[in-house]
Symmetry: C2
Subunit: 343 residues, 2 copies
Amino acid sequence: MAHYHPPYSRRPLTLRDVSEASGVSEMTVSRVLRNRTDVSAATRDKVLSAAKRLGYVPNKIAGALASQRVNLVAVIIPSLSNMVFPEVLRGISDGLQDTALQPVFGVTEYSAEREESVLYEMLSWRPSGVILAGLEHSDAARAMLVNSGIPIVEIMDVDGAAIDSVVGISHRAAGRQMAAAILTAGYRRIGFLGTKMPDDHRARKRLEGFNEVLSKAGVSLIDAEYYAGGSALLKGREMTQAILSRTPDLDFLYYSNDMIGAGGLLWCLEHGIDVPGKLGLAGFNGVELLDGLPIRLATMDACRRQIGSRAASIVAAATADTGGGVRIELTPKLDPGATIRLG
Amino acid sequence: MAHYHPPYSRRPLTLRDVSEASGVSEMTVSRVLRNRTDVSAATRDKVLSAAKRLGYVPNKIAGALASQRVNLVAVIIPSLSNMVFPEVLRGISDGLQDTALQPVFGVTEYSAEREESVLYEMLSWRPSGVILAGLEHSDAARAMLVNSGIPIVEIMDVDGAAIDSVVGISHRAAGRQMAAAILTAGYRRIGFLGTKMPDDHRARKRLEGFNEVLSKAGVSLIDAEYYAGGSALLKGREMTQAILSRTPDLDFLYYSNDMIGAGGLLWCLEHGIDVPGKLGLAGFNGVELLDGLPIRLATMDACRRQIGSRAASIVAAATADTGGGVRIELTPKLDPGATIRLG
DNA sequence: GTGAAAGCGCTAACAC
DNA sequence: GTGTTAGCGCTTTCAC
């Protein structure tokens, strides 16, 4: 049902068109359009009005090729499916606010292979920097990053060797801290509920840290449930029901993220389970959504927004060629909410 | 705490480097790297191994300038704060899957001014097409779109005049349909809860359609609550409490989105309110999160993913220069859930 | 099947 | 303050 077919492929205007329309040389037109100060007010006005009248939009491709500068920062994240990465993106936007840099996003769906191809694609546009999640990359991706000659910031996680700069939290330490809090509160029969994602290295590290502290206390996970895809809130609900009917004497459920934790919490409340008396619950991330639940779920803030803005600042500084090779470890705080009893 | 300062600004490799390393002319290297078939297998292997060994990443800036082709689709959306746009983005990714096109995202935060500057910025990269939310744009933005000479797809909303192609639903009709369902169910004392966003035209149109049907039935909104920012789930909870304590005899609450509707629903359930007997509730969007609530909130699916993939297909087709100027109106279906009683 | 030359639209560098 | 010249790293075109 075509209703009108516009002339795609109209030739875009060039500097030359503005030059002719204003009677000013291309070079000076270029100066005006780049807000350079060494142009007389009269010339500037002539150019600006001609450009506006014609509807000229500069060609950054040509500009970038000529100047060898591209004001783009490649940002590569695993997913948009939960609230965690959009918030990192907002942090990045904030951090880039007062610079000429613009973020460009790519998504990997937690696949190293896709990360590699997205990275290749983005690097081919010669961005001013790269911000990407995690420290685990394919060899080829790592090589591209090392060879790129631009600032690289790996974010979210600090447990491992960074290529250049890194901003994040220690997920292993976060897992340990939560385990310690749970043990201190007196819980001993602990179940784990999480995603079936072998490539979510941060979730894996949290669980490793968690298990480590449990082991030292002679405790180990009694049962576990995993899911993939679907509504996390619903999955949390379903998995909670499943694990509790299979292993009714659990006294704590550790969820790998807040969304499934929230689903579990709602299920428990509906079923009159004494939380946190008989059963404690905890998630991870500190998502805003938790504010709207009947009672607060214990969680740990992953410092998402802050990570984004710090990473952006590092790229901005490195581009303005201050510094480089920075390591920033943020410390998430544990929020016991109302789902962990006092120890 | 710098731990290592890599040599930013290493000169990236060029075709010439690969040419010299492989002993093949630049032109033929270029052919191989673009997967052209008119190259002998022997030459191809030489080139490929040299390129891989060196870690060559092509410069798309130069390529785009020379070929006058850019495989980028500019995607401009209002926000990443709720689940609606990320899902549109996923639809777009899907729709672009089997093409050479790559989406690039920009966010406006519901500001026409920011839309204009994001658009300007993106058009300056000469993308192959633009997908943007809504039909309302500044005059300057509209002029840029019209003059761009590339396929433009306005998405989400079909209530108004499109520049080129359009894919969406009628929000006015959606509002009308919900009002009709509510009236049919026998509710008469209706309250509205929504965002304080004058520039969210789709929410506005839904409310207009809603009021229109109410008026015709001699009914009008009894009370309203507005919010801006913060956790939508929490705001839904707070606004529900506020509106019901101010106007206790309301028998229906119409929320402008599912998130605040979910917050309201949770609040009502906790306070033992008979839903949908004494009080009916409805939201909008059909977000996945609703699947995890104790009872289903009435809502309307905004067809987000489908809109994204259809829009992407239009751009892909127009680029391959089939068609153009397409209008697709999808029909959202009303899901009465368990929060509207049978009429 | 391969190579040489020209040029995409802009900006750096320098001359005036 | 303004103009001229020479590329940026590719791809197009055409010759071989």
